[in-house]
Amino acid sequence: MTKLVTGVIQPHRLDDVKSALEAAGVRGMTVSEASGYGRQRGHTEVYRGAEYTVDLVPKVRIEVLVADEDTATVTAVLIKAAQTGKIGDGKVWVVPVEDVARVRTGEHGVDAL
């Protein structure tokens, strides 16, 4: 069986995360743009005579389907590569997956990864 590991990270860590995951044997992933709302906000600025608080900051979402046994490793690798130690570094979470298929061939299960 498989898991879906999702990471929401700082955009400028994407390249390093990609490389680290590849080095850890991950052969595919899906990436998308997102906006984060969290402790990071609070920074205010004045623009054209009005004061603003930045609320949603740009993030990148990474989704990796992994075999059950690789979950912990992939999660750890992802966290390590994304970490800068500053507020706003993001979250990683793991969700159980009941079925995976490769569209090209139609095969199901761990082979489809």
Binding site: E45, V46, Y47, R48, G49, A50, Y52
Partner: protein, 436 residues
């Protein structure tokens, strides 16, 4: 007057007219980039729509009501040159310079067009397109034409006008500080009050959706403004050169002082500030373009840039939603330039002002010209505000000027024009059937 064609002056005025015409699409980008992505098309359509309506009205009765034979100092006779029928070159406003009549009509048309378009920035994101077109037609006729006639058509702010009657001087407005900018600025305020604030004003951020478009707009405005100011000489000569050069340097100064003001107050010099400083400087130098020398032009630009940068915040304090700062830039900039002429006007160094006008305070002319300038500005402010307010109130009470709340929140582009500006997955549609 006998007419002798001067091909050089005519070449310049044909060019200048095209340059000024380009300013209105330039404004469409300046304004369009500043609104949110859901209302950019509507914003641009207000400028394009103004071109359509005002362009036609101008050749029908507009030129005539402005430059036709004077009726009581208030307006020109709209029938003199109705439809431009039978007009001859010796009747040209620019006949002395050897520029044919239709070229004069063309040049002046572009001024009327942009003046209306300027107003639209005060009522962004919430105005019915049809109501705007109707407003444009009424306003150009009963506000713009009288004021232009007063200042340039021999009316009550000219050489035989009220300031002269009061024992003062002749007002100086080389290229339209009162007629165009003060007029549009105060009209914008009146309309903003009539229409009320945008939903979420002062709470939701309404920052520019496309700042490169704002800069494109500022660039096209600046480019076209050389036609506006140097064209207002009606000739290709040294005075036009002075107007051209002042249009460069006042603008440079205003851009820099706007950026400096932002840097000191907010910590950062923004691109929106640069673009706005450009426009603020252009506005301020407009009435003074040929009437001040190098130092006067730099001073006017520098002062206007800083004043406008401070003024654009006022709407939050006083609670009127002058959405794109027509008041903060055009009214404040226009007043700055018009009044500072009273300090900096000079007849040296390739400058020019109308016969009967005088040097400013710093150039040995005393306070007379300053008082004259203030009176001219006040007259235009009062007249334009009242008449615009009345037009707006009547339209609001009858056909309604504002779109529904739902249309405003969902996006006026979609609601009024059935379009979104940019292709997006989220606006994907399927073609179902072909109609015709």
């Amino acid at each position: 007057m006998d007419f002798a064609l001067d091909t050089g002056n005519t070449a310049w005025m044909l060019t200048a007219s095209a340059l000024v015409l380009l300013m209105t699409p330039g404004l469409a980008f300046f304004y369009g980039g500043m609104v949110r992505g859901k209302s950019v098309l509507n914003m641009m359509m207000m400028s394009f729509g103004a071109m359509g309506v005002v362009g036609l009205i101008w050749v029908l009765w507009g030129y005539s009501a402005t430059f036709g034979s004077d009726i009581g100092g208030f307006i020109g006779n709209p029938l003199d040159y109705f439809g431009l029928d039978g007009m001859t070159d010796d009747q040209s406003l620019m006949a002395a310079a050897g520029v044919p009549a239709l070229v004069a009509v063309a040049f002046q048309a572009t001024f009327a067009i942009i003046t209306i378009a300027l107003i639209s920035g005060a009522i962004a994101d919430r105005t019915k397109f049809s109501a705007w077109l109707i407003f444009a037609g009424i306003w150009v006729t009963i506000v713009y034409m009288p004021v232009a006639h007063w200042v340039w058509g021999g009316g009550l702010l000219g050489a035989e006008g009220i300031t002269v009657d009061m024992g003062l001087s002749v007002p100086i407005d080389f290229a339209g500080g009162t007629v165009v900018h003060i007029n549009a600025g105060i009209a914008g305020l009146a309309l903003a009050l009539i229409l009320g604030k945008r939903k979420g004003f002062g709470k939701e951020p309404m920052r520019p959706h496309n700042l490169p478009f704002v800069m494109l707009g500022a660039a096209l405005l600046w480019f076209g403004w050389f036609g506006f100011n140097a064209g207002s000489e009606f000739a290709a000569d040294g005075v036009a050169g002075r107007a051209w050069l002042n249009t460069l340097i006042a603008t440079c100064a205003a851009m820099l002082t706007w950026l400096l003001t932002e840097r000191l107050r907010d910590g950062k010099a923004t691109s929106l500030g640069a673009a706005s400083g450009v426009v603020g400087g252009l506005v301020a130098i407009t009435p003074a373009a040929a009437a001040v020398d190098t130092f006067g032009a730099i001073a006017i630009g520098a002062i206007a840039g800083s004043l406008c940068a401070l003024a654009v915040g006022l709407k939050y304090r006083f609670g009127y939603d002058d959405s794109l700062d027509v008041v903060g830039v055009h009214l404040v900039g226009g007043l700055t330039g018009t009044i500072l002429i009273g300090l900096f006007a000079t007849d040296k160094n390739s400058t020019w002002y109308p016969e009967g006008a005088m040097n400013g305070l710093f150039y040995g002319g005393g306070l007379t010209q300053l008082a004259t300038q203030v009176i001219a500005a006040v007259v235009v402010v009062v007249f334009s505000f009242i008449v615009t307010y009345v037009i707006g109130a009547i339209l609001q009470a009858t056909i309604g000027m504002r779109v529904s709340d739902g249309d405003e929140v969902g996006g006026i582009d979609l609601a009024q024009h059935g379009e979104t500006a940019y292709e997006a997955l989220g606006a994907r549609v399927t073609m179902t059937e072909v109609k015709a």
